[in-house]
């Protein structure tokens, strides 16, 4: 890996950290609340549509690092979540052109729902013992349902889809990421799918 490529991956992690921090900033009570789009996910998916398949794991790792820096979620859950989403994108890429407006909108929304559901499942599993020791274990466990977390994330899924539609191509062209795209032309990468 060349020095410029290493730098580009570091830039990706940094952009992911900024995107995640912006999400956290906007998720406050006076912000967008549940309508906050998952910008780091849009960034990952926009790159997934443009980079070679073998780079998917690196994209997942870099974006996860950025999110881990500002999140209270267990790092292993974030790693698994981003890796799962990017492996799904890699699979879909063999039958769909992910860069198209409709495709990237739908994939963004679906990925946001899946990601929220996954993090909800992890949180519910890890907090299960805590809920069982509570004085109202039924109500406590009820607030930790992963399906509810996924369904409750529909506003974020809508805004993420919209973000993917409007900002997806721009996010893939953020400063510092050019070497990632130049390293292997899309036409060549497409032939490798």
């Amino acid at each position: 890996m060349t020095r410029s490529a290493v730098l580009a991956w570091l830039f990706l992690a940094l952009w992911a950290a900024w995107a995640s921090a912006l999400q956290g900033l906007a998720a406050g009570p006076e912000g967008l609340g549940r309508w906050v789009p998952d910008l780091a996910l849009v960034l990952a998916l926009s790159l997934a549509a443009r980079l070679p398949a073998e780079d998917m794991v690196k994209v997942a790792l870099a974006v996860a690092l950025g999110r881990i820096a500002v999140s209270i979620q267990p790092p292993v859950a974030l790693l698994a979540g981003y890796l799962g989403i990017l492996l799904l994108a890699r699979g879909l890429r063999s039958v769909l052109e992910l860069g198209g407006p409709l495709q990237r909108t739908l994939l963004g929304a679906l990925a946001a729902l899946l990601f929220a559901g996954w993090l909800g499942l992890v949180h519910a599993e890890r907090a299960r013992d805590v809920a069982a020791q509570a004085v109202a274990p039924g109500a406590a466990a009820g607030s930790l349902r992963p399906l509810a977390a996924a369904l409750g994330a529909w506003p974020a899924a809508l805004s993420t889809g919209l973000c993917a539609l409007l900002l997806g191509p721009a996010l893939a062209r953020l400063p510092g990421l050019t070497p990632l795209r130049r390293r292997r032309p899309w036409s060549r990468a497409a032939s490798l799918r």
Partner: protein, 468 residues
């Protein structure tokens, strides 16, 4: 030409499976290794920290509001401690005579036996010996099993609910101690829980062994070791309440305990022989001012995941930060450490669903603090934090206000080592009756905006830094 061959694809899927498994079934050792590998993320946190400047004005406003409320917060906290100390002591005059008492707070559950770990408020276990009775008000809770151990400031108490626990007792029936044949109060042995115990609140029954008679009247059962030489400190334990005898049918009896051993045991006293020095108990040390606090800085503006609430801080396990530790500003609880990496940590704040904390209430018009038990947050709604509460010791709905909710101030209760008691949570209207209820906690301040915080450490900072 390189291709995405099946082997790397299978490797990626295997990695995903392993990560997913670890996420759902955490292994502290493996997660620790992953945290270490991901430690460079801490640099990214610092690089993203300037975004906090967007909220700098709100952070300053929140800090100013917090400082303005501090005098009131400290005042109600002192009142709570005074009430707790008063009600932890026995009320019946005969239980105070010929004894001295050491106030202690419950700081955790013992690992090896059905017991609790206590920390004397004086900060030392001097004068406490194994076998000494431990009580809460007039109620006998158990006896000291071990003093010191790993931490010289802590003692382990074997609870009366423990499987191997036995204490002599007598029945004081409401219809008179003597039975129809003129025999004196019936003797029995109490200890452990009954096979029919359902493990919750009032349904938790204490086991009765070898009752002296087959037919017993219902009544109060009190400790009475009968003067045998086997148990030390019998005189000190004599007369404390164990519970109320209930008839289970078929000649079987059990005791309905007078306190909730699972969720309501926060403050206890160790009963000693009279203090010959006459100096009494050393004044309690306030943990808010000890050395086991670490100043930390928030590095992120909030949790990016929808529906979750928390903040990242710039210190981790290498600075002594542990999962579950309280994070405070002044006397207010901001949150608890949810995850601690080597150089940074995530803090779940009160509005994070699943956030759990032992809670004690100071209820308007009621002198005795009300233990609410371990409450779990249901999330935030319109700025207030919602907690589920299934009242074990509830407020009577039949009294003068006719079932209207009662204003109360909520505090952390002591039962976890890294969460000191008496940290202010906020105000709430407590519903009457057993419940289940949903409590709406008003914090009055946006604590998630604060930039400078303190984390409770397991050890004093000087110990961590290797100082004498």
């Amino acid at each position: 030409m390189r291709r995405s061959t099946p082997r790397p694809r299978a490797l990626h899927l295997a990695a995903l499976a392993v990560l997913a498994f670890l996420a759902l079934r955490p292994s502290p050792r493996l997660e620790g290794a992953i945290d270490l590998a991901l430690a460079p993320a801490r640099v990214l946190a610092e690089l993203a920290a300037p975004l906090r400047l967007v909220r700098a004005r709100q952070a300053r406003a929140a800090e100013a509001a917090l400082r303005a409320r501090e005098p009131d917060d400290y005042r109600v906290r002192r009142q709570l401690f005074a009430d707790q100390a008063r009600f932890a002591l026995p009320e019946r005059p005969e239980l105070r005579q010929g004894r001295s008492f050491v106030h202690a707070e419950v700081v955790g559950r013992a690992d090896s036996l059905d017991g609790i770990v206590i920390r004397p408020e004086s900060g030392t276990c001097a004068g406490i010996l194994p076998g000494m009775p431990v009580v809460s008000g007039d109620v006998y809770v158990g006896r000291v099993a071990e003093v010191g151990g790993e931490d010289p400031a802590l003692a382990t108490v074997e609870l009366v609910t423990g499987g191997g626990f036995h204490v002599g007792a007598v029945l004081h029936s409401t219809e008179g101690d003597a039975d129809a044949l003129g025999r004196g109060p019936a003797r029995m042995v109490v200890g452990g829980s009954t096979p029919r115990a359902r493990g919750r609140g009032h349904e938790f029954l204490l086991a009765v062994h070898n009752p002296e008679r087959r037919a017993l009247r219902e009544g109060a059962v009190r400790v009475d070791e009968g003067g045998g030489a086997l148990e030390p400190f019998q005189r000190e334990a004599q007369g404390f309440d164990l519970g109320r005898l209930v008839d289970l049918g078929e000649g079987r009896y059990a005791l309905e305990p007078s306190i909730d051993y699972r969720a309501g045991l926060f403050q206890v006293v160790v009963v000693r022989p009279p203090d010959p020095s006459g100096l009494g108990e050393a004044p309690p040390a306030d943990v808010l001012f000890d050395e086991a606090w670490l100043a930390v800085r928030a590095t992120a503006c909030g949790e990016p995941t929808p529906g979750r609430e928390g903040l990242a801080i710039g210190s981790g396990s290498w600075s002594g930060v542990r999962e579950g530790a309280a994070v405070v500003s002044g006397v207010r609880l901001v949150g608890r450490v949810a995850h601690a990496g080597p150089f940074g940590a995530g803090v779940a704040t009160l509005g994070d669903p699943g956030f759990a904390v032992p809670v004690l209430a100071r209820v308007e018009g009621r002198e005795r603090p009300l233990p609410l038990g371990r409450l779990v947050s249901l999330g935030r709604d319109a700025g207030d934090v919602l907690f589920a509460w299934d009242a074990i010791e509830h407020l009577d709905p039949s009294v003068e206000t006719g079932g209207a909710p009662v204003p109360a101030q909520l505090f952390t209760a002591s039962s976890e080592r890294l969460v000191p008691r008496g940290l202010v949570l906020g105000e709430a209207e407590l519903p009457r009756g057993k419940g289940p209820h949903v409590i709406r906690l008003r914090q009055g301040l946006d604590l998630t905006r604060l930039g400078r915080l303190w984390v409770r450490l397991e050890e004093r900072r000087s110990a961590l830094e290797g100082e004498p």
